[in-house]
């Protein structure tokens, strides 16, 4: 093999930046001149371009294509405005508040303060009260009322639940309809990707489980439980499973009409989420 010259090393070192047009004009010219005369470096340049061009958004962010950006923007703007509106409701001391109402509010505030002070003085001091500082809130929590934050969280939880249901649905469909065979063993099905997705979904469900408990819908709770059981099954399988196991899974999904019920609830949850 021909030994690489110093110029070749200099050029190869800079090829990634050359691909991104991130070099000075004189460096660029020097590289281009060299590439026309040096076949091995030209081949390296071709390989560099091929590799970096293969990194497309579809590979790096595989689920980006599913996003409805317009809808997301609309929802985001609506939510942000709702939060800001809650945060900027005129307080009773503001000049825009009617004078009589302001006076009444002032008197009421004094009464509440007085009663509160008396009650607090009489009440026994529980151990540790006032000692523990509040957990650090987010920037938004500092300016938004707790009620509004709770509403936003519930809205996000509903939307998260709808996405969880849809993603679970997509996973189950992939699992039973587009199986890929394992490389190392004969007739078995490779479900390693689906296993990873199941674990991911289970983790997400844990994150907003507390919010979901507030939805108080027994049928939804049942569906989520059954779905969780299916995902746990998938995540506990080996990477390569027998065709029979997939068939059993499909029968269970059909028997419990999981997909149809997901469709039903997704619409409902999204509707609630949008109006939250």
């Amino acid at each position: 093999m021909r030994e690489m010259g110093r110029e070749c090393l200099w050029v190869r070192e800079r090829l990634p930046l050359h691909h991104y047009a991130a070099l000075e004009a004189d460096e660029r010219r020097r590289i281009e001149t060299h590439l026309t005369a040096c076949a091995p470096c030209a081949e390296t340049w071709r390989a560099t371009r091929a590799a970096l061009q293969a990194v497309d958004a579809g590979s790096a962010f595989p689920r980006e294509a599913e996003i409805d950006w317009e809808r997301l923007a609309r929802e985001t703007v609506a939510r942000a405005r709702a939060v800001a509106a809650d945060a900027s409701v005129a307080p009773w001391w503001s000049p825009s508040f009617p004078l009589l109402a302001r006076l009444a509010a002032l008197v009421l505030a004094f009464v509440i303060l007085g009663v509160g002070t008396v009650l607090v003085r009489r009440a026994p001091t529980p151990e540790g009260r006032g000692g523990a500082p509040h957990a650090r809130g987010t920037e938004a929590e500092a300016v938004v009322s707790p009620r509004s934050m709770r509403r936003i969280r519930e809205g996000l939880a509903r939307q998260g639940a709808a996405r969880y249901l849809l993603d679970s649905r997509a996973l189950l469909i992939d699992l039973v309809q587009s199986p890929a065979r394992c490389r190392r063993s004969g007739p078995e099905i490779d479900i390693s990707l689906e296993k990873a997705r199941s674990r991911d979904l289970l983790r997400r469900k844990n994150l907003y489980e507390r919010d979901l408990q507030g939805l108080e819908d027994q049928r939804l709770a049942t569906l989520l439980r059954q779905l969780e059981s299916l995902l746990l099954q998938v995540s506990s399988f080996n990477d390569c499973v027998a065709v029979r196991q997939i068939r059993d899974l499909r029968e269970e999904i059909e028997h419990r009409r999981i997909l149809m019920r997901i469709d039903l609830y997704t619409g409902t949850l999204r509707g609630e989420g949008a109006s939250a």
């Binding site: 081949e43 590979s59 923007a73 942000a80 993603d167 890929a180 296993k195 674990r199 983790r203």
Partner: protein, 203 residues
């Protein structure tokens, strides 16, 4: 003509009609990709985008035009993502990356029911996996610079301004990231004919 980012952000700050809508449309994809860099998860990244936008709107009057809006916005997003990662740690779950690394290679089965389409899908999945691995292997600052240059096509000067760092730092991060991604993909052998050439850049 579209306003530049600073003018647009000033419009958001001054409640100019339609400014926030335009801001969200302009930034949401970029924020999604950046959030994905941190969180490596589609759903979490989407939530992070929405929650960051809400924070930005609520705190819009605190924006100071001395800095590029993206510097401000990306710091809010980064803080949000870091909080999210901390919350994740309090809900122990198996690392997705670990699961992916363990998973064996796949290949389409030879029987008639496995079509060319399935084979292409399979190859696409494999490439996707390799790209994910290549990017996951990058340090956070390199990944951020790589995403901003490669996908968002921001100039190096814009990235430096947005991240509040020197142009030379951006350049060296981009160089290291691009070389690492290239070498990883070439080693994977998924790019026909590209591996033979070698890069001669093993550092």
């Amino acid at each position: 003509m579209e306003p530049d980012d600073v003018t647009l952000m000033e419009g958001v700050r001054a409640d100019r009609e339609g400014a926030f809508e335009e801001f969200v449309e302009r930034y949401q994809r970029r924020l999604y990709r950046l959030a994905h860099v941190y969180l490596r998860n589609h759903e979490d990244a989407l939530d992070a985008v929405q929650e960051t936008m809400i924070k930005i709107y609520v705190a819009r009057r605190r924006y100071r035009p001395e800095s590029h809006p993206f510097t401000w916005v990306s710091r809010i997003l980064a803080n949000h993502c870091i909080d999210r990662i901390r919350r994740r740690r309090s809900h122990p779950a198996e690392s997705l990356e670990a699961v992916r690394e363990e998973s064996p290679g796949r290949e389409p089965a030879p029987s008639g029911r496995w079509t060319d389409e399935a084979q292409r899908t399979q190859e696409g999945r494999e490439l996707r996996r390799q790209v994910e691995q290549a990017m996951a292997g990058l340090p956070e600052n390199q990944r951020e610079v790589f995403v901003l240059r490669h996908f968002e096509e921001m100039s190096l000067a814009e990235i430096a301004a947005a991240r509040g760092c020197a142009l030379g730092t951006v350049k060296s991060s981009l160089h290291r990231a691009a070389a690492a991604v290239r070498d990883h993909l070439l080693r994977s052998g998924l790019l026909p004919g590209a591996a033979e050439g070698g890069t001669g850049s093993e550092e």
